[in-house]
């Protein structure tokens, strides 16, 4: 019972850390007032540390819950397949920020449950960064966000109607396509502290911060992210149904527990 409670508390804390790390540019100025100015330069460094600590604790926790040879092997191989998709993205005729890495994370999280989805999202981003040589301070943010993609996919309702299922998943892909870009932008946005109308200004209210961010996002990323969202939807619409069928067949053979 107490272990349960502790698990829940750890999940809750890491979720709060994730939200805080991504949302602090909006909330901080109002809370800290004049002091915020003095410490604005430290914020990105400290936030990377915070996020990395949260990620490590969460991974230890999830690993303790979900370990067995089958899960480890399935995660490893699916991670390899997902990371391999990243190499063929040039073949897909979709412009903008589309990456075929999201569709398998969404579909696997949907079929195998949110815990598996979280691990697959985080591991797929980690492995493809290791292999392509793109390890950097952005990695904890990418792992957290891609983990959330898989995690929330497990929460979706599972309607009986196949067509409805695919429409639901495609819509989910659109939402995360946009959201992933918006969240990842927040990682470097505070770096651009320059007092402009579209950049982060310590010492303004969150409403103001949000409207500045919206302007920044519209100007710089929306077109790119629409490409990603559309690509996700297209990918899931075309390949989603057979993928879900294959995954469900293997879930029964692997005897996964759902949840």
């Amino acid at each position: 019972m107490t272990t349960r409670l502790l698990n829940a508390l750890i999940y809750l804390t890491t979720a709060l850390i994730g939200v805080a790390a991504f949302a602090y540019p909006f909330v901080l100025p109002e809370l800290a007032g004049a002091n915020a100015d003095a410490h604005a330069a430290d914020a990105p460094v400290l936030t990377v540390i915070l996020l990395a600590a949260g990620l490590v604790v969460l991974l230890v926790e999830v690993q303790g819950q979900a370990v067995s040879a089958k899960v480890v092997a399935a995660l490893g191989v699916l991670t390899a397949v997902t990371a391999a998709l990243r190499f063929i993205e040039v073949f897909f005729p979709v412009p903008g920020g589309f990456s075929p890495i999201f569709a398998p994370i969404i579909l696997a999280g949907y079929v195998f449950g949110s815990r598996f989805g979280f691990l697959l999202g985080a591991m797929a981003l980690l492995v493809s960064a290791l292999v392509t040589g793109m390890v950097g301070p952005w990695l904890p943010y990418q792992m957290f966000t891609a983990g959330w993609v898989g995690l929330t996919a497990g929460w979706l309702p599972h309607p009986q109607n196949r067509r409805l299922q695919i429409i639901l998943l495609a819509a989910f892909g659109v939402v995360w396509g946009i959201l992933f870009g918006a969240i990842m932008n927040l990682y470097f946005w505070p770096f651009v502290v320059d007092g402009s109308a579209t950049s982060w200004q310590p010492g303004t209210g969150w409403r103001d911060g949000l409207s500045r961010y919206a302007a920044f996002y519209l100007l710089t990323s929306l077109v790119w992210d629409i490409g990603r969202a559309g690509g996700n939807a297209l990918f899931i619409a075309v390949l989603g149904a057979p993928t879900v069928r294959a995954l469900i067949r293997f879930r029964d053979r692997f005897q996964f527990q759902q949840g």
């Binding site: 600590a53 990371a83 109308a197 710089t220």
Partner: protein, 345 residues
């Protein structure tokens, strides 16, 4: 040079650049990191980004973007009507300079991490995974091992389909290629799982963490979180609390890792060069943290030359240490690099 030393070097250099935010120091770190990256590159580094092109793009974009958005400063180049949303107003040299300085920081971060990726091999990076996360370490190893295999599988499936007259014209034509790839991969996962179970994987280790470890993990995490929040109000006490939390979590990971005995094939020895690497990497960061006031550069409201403290500037040159040591190591013992190249393909 061991991967641990490189990690300290990377973290210290990145933190220095992010904390100082002054183009003169940034350029010093940029050059030092680039030289280290070129000198220490592995022979089998995956591929290199064209840094000159990307760097030019980053600098130009950040300068342009800043001039487009910021209309503060005294040296006005030209003006657009003030009632144009966001982009109207005077265009100033100061805004361009600040944008360049921002772009320089981003570019330097990119160069620092490119150096890490070219100098340290993937398998050595995977070994840095804390032992407490052993199962996820296995996941990563399986994934890294199977990735070339999966790429080969993809090629074979494409060839097999092409022989049958299948051609990829649209997205729908990927279905007969990607679905067999997925099913083949899952079949392989089944056999890998069976092989692992047959060798006793997961049979003895108790996956659940002891209660007090979990509790202390939560405490450490809360300390990091609290310290992070506190640092915005109070400064250094927040840093202390955050540091204490990080140390607590690291100690717990170490404790958890000791539960599973673990052997390593041909470990790379820790030499005095590695100690030197850690010391020279941490020293500049300490010097910066001691006299941080006045290091930061801002061109607003009027353009001025960035300040330069020779002590800080010289200390940043210590980031050249791996580039200096590498040729010495090679000359002293050409065998070591050869053996290591064999052991860590």
């Amino acid at each position: 040079m061991r991967a641990e030393g490189w990690m300290v070097w990377v973290v210290s250099a990145a933190a220095a650049v992010m904390l100082v935010h002054n183009p003169v120091y940034t350029v010093i770190v940029l050059l030092a990191a680039r030289v280290a990256g070129v000198v220490c590159a592995r022979s089998d580094a995956p591929f290199s980004l064209s840094l000159a092109r990307i760097g030019g793009l980053i600098l130009a974009l950040s300068a342009l973007f800043n001039m487009l958005m910021v209309h503060v400063g005294e040296l006005v180049l030209f003006r657009l009507p003030a009632n144009w949303l966001w982009i109207g107003g005077p265009y100033t040299v100061e805004a361009g300079v600040f944008g360049l300085s921002n772009g320089l920081v981003l570019l330097t971060l990119l160069v620092i991490f490119t150096t890490l990726n070219t100098a340290v091999s993937t398998s050595e990076l995977v070994r840095l995974m804390p032992r407490a996360l052993r199962d996820l370490g296995v996941v990563i190893l399986i994934a890294v091992t199977y990735l070339p295999e999966t790429m080969g599988q993809l090629r074979r499936i494409r060839e097999a389909q092409a022989i049958r007259g299948h051609r990829v014209r649209g997205l729908r034509d990927w279905r007969p290629i990607l679905i067999p790839l997925l099913i083949g991969g899952l079949e392989r996962a089944m056999s890998v799982a069976e092989a692992m179970a047959a060798r006793g994987y997961g049979a003895t280790a108790d996956a659940r963490q002891p209660f007090f470890v979990q509790f202390l993990l939560l405490v450490g995490l809360l300390a990091v979180f609290g310290g992070w929040a506190l640092s915005f109000w109070a400064g250094w006490p927040g840093w202390l609390l955050l540091g204490a939390g990080v140390v607590l979590i690291a100690a717990l990971l170490w404790r958890l890792g000791r539960q599973t005995p673990h052997t390593r094939y041909r470990p790379r020895l820790w030499t005095r060069w590695d100690t030197g690497m850690v010391v020279t990497a941490v020293l500049p960061l300490i010097i910066i943290l001691i006299n941080r006031d006045g290091l930061t550069y801002s061109p607003y409201p009027a353009l001025d030359w960035p300040g330069f403290d020779p002590l800080v500037g010289l200390s940043l040159l210590l980031f050249l240490f791996p580039a200096v040591v590498r040729p010495i190591q090679k000359n002293n013992n050409p065998q070591i690099t050869q053996i290591n190249a064999d052991a860590f393909p």
